[in-house]
Symmetry: C3
Subunit: 140 residues, 3 copies
Amino acid sequence: MATCIIANGALSMGKKVSLFFTFWGLNILRRPKAVQTQKNLIERAFEYMMPRGTKKLKLSKMNMLGLGTEMIKGIMKKHNVEPLDKLLAAIRDGGGRLVACRMSMDLMGIRKEELIDGVEDGGVATYLADAEKGNINLFI
Amino acid sequence: MATCIIANGALSMGKKVSLFFTFWGLNILRRPKAVQTQKNLIERAFEYMMPRGTKKLKLSKMNMLGLGTEMIKGIMKKHNVEPLDKLLAAIRDGGGRLVACRMSMDLMGIRKEELIDGVEDGGVATYLADAEKGNINLFI
Amino acid sequence: MATCIIANGALSMGKKVSLFFTFWGLNILRRPKAVQTQKNLIERAFEYMMPRGTKKLKLSKMNMLGLGTEMIKGIMKKHNVEPLDKLLAAIRDGGGRLVACRMSMDLMGIRKEELIDGVEDGGVATYLADAEKGNINLFI
């Protein structure tokens, strides 16, 4: 959530934004529905056990079996804060780069067609090149 | 703790310091005692369930029902490391900026009078403006 | 893991790299086997309870009593990603600086001889000096 708020804020101030998603972070980029793919058993197990997309994200604390998360979602709606999938789409549509870490994709058996539209894949060199051009760089 | 140590170190080296507190981080800025406020039911529930101030912080690992945390506090005292509330006050009194994220305050129903003295509130633009002027910028 | 991958990537692109290890992060630098030291009771308790070295690291999620971690290690091997101890040694041997936080060592009762070869100790001033010279600076 912090990532999306900061990125949207930076875009609205006319800055260039690039988000690099590694490991568990990749799950945020997954399409909510399963995509037909060729996978081995372990990759398939990971596919089913890992959360798909922003809707599955839980509060990092006080989740309380989902109650806390639902409460915060309700409050966000009341305060006109967009839900995460909208914020993510806004970053992409506003010119922000969404890069999925290729090594993480390999390790977790995630295929590119399982990710939402507009996501590129890249390596650590992609990340470092963007980070070096940037003025602000965060690991969230 | 890392935040406070790095911030105090930077101040003592003559640097400008600005700390931006979002979401759970806001709890660190809360006064240890309840403050009379107007709140709805959900906000009141959050108020009572969330920890108030630095004294309620637990070790991120090896808390062991509070034993580990107490041990570390004891060791910190023995090694003349100031407790967190003192470190935080030292940052503020040394000219460091403590900014509470306004959107997080709205979402969690935290009022400004519930936060310790010397805290400003600000938005993502406040953060980005400070971060851009800075040479070192961390998400902790 | 992210730390090691990014650091190795940066070194291979000809950048200078400095890693500063604080608190729980120090455990990654510990030798896998116990070293004879003079310690008080609390320090000794911490020594035995904290994980020693990279081999003891678990996945931050989906560890599943060790099964998930072993699965990822297997997949890393299959995809020719070096294990963490090799990645760490590669950083050190490639000219990267490994700095152990002296205050954390004091608090956790870790002696320098318990850490792997090639590790320096330093304070927050050491970190800030390196961070200020650097272009990219992450808290991981």
